[in-house]
């Protein structure tokens, strides 16, 4: 077989990006097609339904659900405040003595009234939600009541794992080589609101200092599992992240442990030192793969915005690969052979392998499953 499909992360100096910015519910789009937007601009907003409070009105009033109808003072859709009387009975002998009055516990709206259970559902006021552009670019499509599509030309790096939400800021290289381990002395007030770049590793106490200095995001080759646990206060069981609020976002380009950042990634970040970037730590490995992203917008003309159809990375002779499991974890090599036969590796597992050559000319045999294509 001359080629095979393989997983891979994109690291490229120039790509046409297309980002859908969709509201969680239908709402109002605030921009029109062709508008030039900045990452921080709000492009759409909506109102999320408020919390629902079930409230057993019949019980409160001391009547059966079927009797409730006689005493209720509200109907579905009514606006309510804590002063609104929901129901009241006539009191003893209908004379108003020991009369029970039930007021609304919240401000909001009446959602439902049930004669079967005596329960009313009250909804709190709606909660406004804004969607930002996230990347500098042009609105190329408006999806009425739902959101927009923003396109731009960017330098683009996919990380492997991250934590924390979307943010924007200026890139600041703190590492001088891809295998640098970031030390605390390099972080000072000049890092405020910046996206800082470490090399192979950033330890917990340095992340802590970065948070204190108002750093917006950290890009690192590797991170220690226990440091993440200390930061979050819990262990990540299943990789669905991005919702954490720890004061900054972290984008890890290689994996867990001390792992030298891929040279191509490092060089690209270095080239754009001082430029504005949009980043996020959203990661979801299962059911719709989402990887963290580093997006550095470039100048472009509108006619350049022709996106290329997604394809699956292909392994073939000459493909540049990154080894993603021991032995040689983190190393870069070039594919020199794709033998068809199943081959036994050290663990005695029979697998499809490939032959790869390192920069120094040494060659190794590796399971195809343990490499990823470096896409460009």
């Amino acid at each position: 077989m001359g080629q095979a499909y393989s997983a891979g992360l994109t690291v490229t100096e120039s790509i046409i990006l297309r980002k859908e910015r969709i509201m969680p519910l239908k709402g109002k789009v605030l921009v029109t097609k062709g508008t030039k937007v900045k990452g921080e601009d709000v492009v759409a907003e909506t109102l999320l339904p408020g919390k629902v409070l079930p409230f057993n009105l019949a019980n409160k009033l001391g009547v059966t659900p079927s009797q409730l109808e006689k005493y209720i003072k509200i109907k579905i859709g009514d606006q309510i405040t804590p002063k609104t009387v929901l129901a009241e009975n006539a009191g003893l002998f209908g004379l108003g003595i020991f009369k029970s009055v039930v007021y609304s516990p919240i401000e909001g709206e009446v959602e439902n009234i049930s004669a079967v259970t005596g329960q009313v559902l009250l909804r709190e006021p709606r909660i406004p939600v804004q969607v930002k552009a996230f990347i500098d670019g042009i609105v190329t499509e408006v999806i009425p009541e739902e959101g927009v599509v923003i396109e731009n030309k960017s330098a683009y790096i996919q990380g492997i794992f991250g934590i924390g939400d979307e943010t924007t800021g200026e890139l600041k290289m703190l590492a001088t080589t891809p295998d640098d381990e970031l030390d605390a002395g390099k972080i000072d007030d000049s890092c405020r609101d910046k996206i800082i770049v470490a090399g192979s590793f950033i330890p917990y106490h340095v992340i802590d200092i970065a948070i204190k200095h108002g750093v917006k995001a950290i890009i690192t080759g590797g991170i220690d599992d226990q440091d993440i646990k200390k930061l979050l206060g819990y262990d990540i069981g299943v990789a669905i992240t991005g919702h954490e609020r720890i004061g900054l976002s972290i984008i890890c380009t290689e994996g867990f442990g001390k792992i030298t950042m891929a040279k191509k990634t490092f060089d690209l970040l270095k080239k754009f030192d001082g430029k504005k970037a949009s980043v996020h730590g959203h990661t979801q490995i299962r059911a719709g793969v989402i990887r963290p992203e580093i997006i550095i917008p470039l100048d472009f003309k509108e006619d350049e915005l022709i996106s290329v159809k997604a394809t699956m990375p292909v392994l073939e002779i000459g493909t540049l690969i990154r080894i993603i499991r021991n032995p040689h974890f983190g190393s870069i090599a070039k594919v020199t052979g794709l033998p068809e036969e199943l081959t036994k590796v050290e663990s005695e597992t029979l697998v499809r392998i490939l032959e790869a050559e390192f920069e120094d000319g040494t060659r190794v045999l590796l399971p195809r499953a343990n490499v990823e294509v470096i896409e460009s």
């Binding site: 499909y5 659900p65 259970t117 069981g237 867990f256 059911a287 989402i290 699956m312 021991n326 005695e348």
Partner: protein
């Protein structure tokens, strides 16, 4: 619809898993159905391709290439222009294509009931039996406040909801109250908001009118027969059927590429064959084994994201399935560590390793789920993790697989002081006949000896238990194949899928390491005799090939027993297998490893050496 061997001569079956799409070729050769070739490729239901059929094409292409090599026939072809050629015409095409699927997270459901341990549990059983992952069970008595329940329903985005509650003629109020909570939450389906969320009501039939009034406008309401019409009876079939229909009609339609895949799955006359959720197909097979051989069976399917356990127990062949949604060997591997704790994993590892190195290795497997252990040390570690994932999943299963709760039981005087109550687990390892393993880490272990070791250490079978493994992970394929040809599915299952590993003999009870535990005399078919007084804390492996039987005389010492009648002496036939007969005197209830580290490592190495689990150089 069933087809005979004249119409079905070459079949492609795929299982679109969350990580990998596995394709197998089944052919009718020399008067019998055999599984001949397999291929696999990454599943492509997700970005960037967002089309499940691409993975199917890639896996089939690999199979095509291997078939051409095997038969030395370059003309062989199953697909053209990215579609199957049906029916077969000589070298070209196939007669049928069938598929199961758990890609994109499988079928995710939420269930509701009135009392969690009664109608709630029945609803959960129905959903699990249909192959779903149950995201949450919400009931009137589950201790959460009503507004918390609404919040929860809103957050979850299930593929569908199953509502149960009230025996026929029983409570209406509580059932309607639950419907009001669902209505208030106004839940949205997981895949796409273009359709209304399907909600199946399978509760008190007298509440149907009120349920329609409460939910009718907001959701796609489907009514099924009450799944717990009386306290002492479950009727899960109709609800399960409805779940399958909706899975096909609504859920699958929304997943990327499934419309195309559903059109592809067809028999020789182009009749459509429904795609089945993977666990439902495996459940089909497990029940067939139990009923055909009249035995009690436990089966396990350990995947990348989830671990399913199936069991068939008692004379009524009561079937139970559980899915441990966050126990698996890739996506969920980190959660195995979080659930079991590092110490429990390390107790199975016969060497010392730096803790942070191990933790980072596990996390790296989580974020790059398709990698495989190339180094021996990493294989040992993954198999130690697998033992814990299996153990935890089985613990959950034992708790769930119980008799119906809430029933009144008549007791005689002998039971008056026993602790058993209604709803006790029906899983009895002492009466279990067969333990079947499936899923990558068990089916693809480099040595079958390792599979035996993992099954024994994780499940701790008691008394006499046969062990088997799904040879290359094809139970799902055969489960769905039986829909169009029971004959093909059964033949392939017996000849190519089910691989008997051997039998485990494990006396139950406590003992002291080194003290006498089991006298065993085995007369083997080749005329040789194995005879030994085996001390406590040992493992012996006696080769005895598949299809062969050893005549055994077994006598225990101390308080150890051999079967459910508490026999201390037995003369039995022990079935062989590709690994052989394992005599395990490490004790049960409790099973305990030596606490002192060097002692534990010494014994682990001894057992692993005896079971031929790993090459000698890692055990010195």
């Amino acid at each position: 619809m069933q087809y005979d061997e004249k119409r079905l001569t070459r079949i492609v079956a795929t299982d679109c898993g969350s990580t990998t799409t596995k394709a197998i070729l089944i052919e009718y050769v020399d008067g019998e159905y055999r599984q001949t070739i397999r291929g696999e490729a990454p599943t492509t239901v997700e970005a960037p391709l967002n089309d499940v059929t691409k993975g199917v094409i890639n896996a089939t292409q690999e199979m095509e290439e291997l078939a051409r090599l095997k038969y030395n026939n370059p003309k062989l072809k199953f697909m053209e222009n990215g579609e199957f050629i049906i029916p077969r015409n000589g070298d070209i095409g196939i007669d049928a294509y069938v598929s199961t699927s758990s890609a994109g997270g499988g079928l995710q459901m939420m269930v509701t009931g009135v009392v969690a341990a009664m109608t709630g549990e029945s609803a959960e059983r129905a959903a699990l039996g249909a192959g779903a992952i149950v995201m949450d069970l919400i009931s009137s008595n589950d201790k959460r406040m009503n507004h918390e329940k609404i919040e929860r329903i809103r957050q979850l985005r299930p593929d569908m909801i199953l509502m149960a509650g009230g025996e026929d003629g029983g409570t209406i109020k509580h059932v309607v109250e639950m419907a009001e909570l669902v209505s208030g939450a106004d839940p949205k389906p997981r895949l796409g908001s273009a359709y209304k969320l399907p909600v199946i009501f399978a509760g008190n039939k007298e509440a149907i009118g009120d349920i329609k009034n409460t939910l009718g406008d907001k959701v796609n309401l489907i009514i099924a027969e009450n799944l717990r019409p009386k306290l002492e009876a479950e009727n899960l079939g109709p609800a399960r059927d409805k779940i399958h229909d909706i899975f096909m009609e609504h859920v699958m339609q929304q997943a990327p590429g499934y419309n195309k895949l559903m059109a592809w799955t067809q028999g020789p006359d182009h009749q459509q064959v429904p795609i089945m959720p993977t666990p439902a197909a495996v459940g089909n097979i497990m029940q067939t084994i139990a009923k055909n051989d009249k035995i009690e069976v436990v089966g396990v399917d350990i995947g990348g994201a989830t671990t399913d356990v199936f069991s068939v127990f008692t004379e009524e062949y009561i079937f139970n399935r559980t899915v441990s949604a966050n126990l698996g060997m890739s996506y969920s591997i980190s959660n195995v560590l979080a659930s079991s704790g590092l110490k429990n994993i390390m107790r199975w590892v016969p060497f010392d390793i730096d803790e942070s190195e191990l933790r980072n290795m596990i996390k790296n497997k989580m974020i790059r789920p398709t990698t495989i252990p190339s180094l021996l040390e990493e294989l040992v570690l993954e198999q130690a993790i697998a033992k814990e994932a299996l153990r935890l999943a089985f613990e959950q299963h034992k708790t769930f697989a119980s008799g119906l709760k809430g029933m009144q039981r008549q007791r005689d005087i002998s039971e008056a002081f026993s602790q058993s109550t209604s709803g006790a687990s029906i899983v009895n390892l002492m009466t279990l006949d067969l333990l079947v393993g499936s899923g990558g880490v068990l089916s693809h272990a480099p040595r079958r000896y390792q599979t035996v070791m993992m099954l024994i250490d994780a499940f701790l079978p008691e008394g006499i238990t046969r062990l088997a493994v799904d040879s290359i992970f094809m139970m799902p394929h055969l489960g769905v194949l039986s829909e169009i040809s029971v004959k093909a599915a059964t033949e392939v299952f017996r000849k190519d899928c089910m691989l008997y590993l051997g039998t485990c003999v494990a006396p139950v009870g406590k003992g002291k390491y080194g003290k006498p535990a089991l006298y065993a005399k085995l007369q083997l078919p080749d005329g040789s005799v194995f005879e030994e007084d085996i001390p406590f804390g040992e493992v012996r492996l006696i080769p005895c090939a598949a299809g062969e039987v050893a005549k055994a005389t077994l006598k225990t010492s101390g308080g150890l027993i051999l079967d459910a009648t508490k026999a201390k002496e037995l003369t039995v036939d022990l079935h062989g297998g590709i690994v052989g007969i394992v005599l395990d005197t490490r004790g049960r209830r409790p099973f305990a490893l030596p606490t002192e580290n060097s002692e534990r490592i010494k014994y682990l190495k001894k057992w692993m050496r005896e079971l031929k689990a790993y090459p000698e150089d890692i055990l010195v």
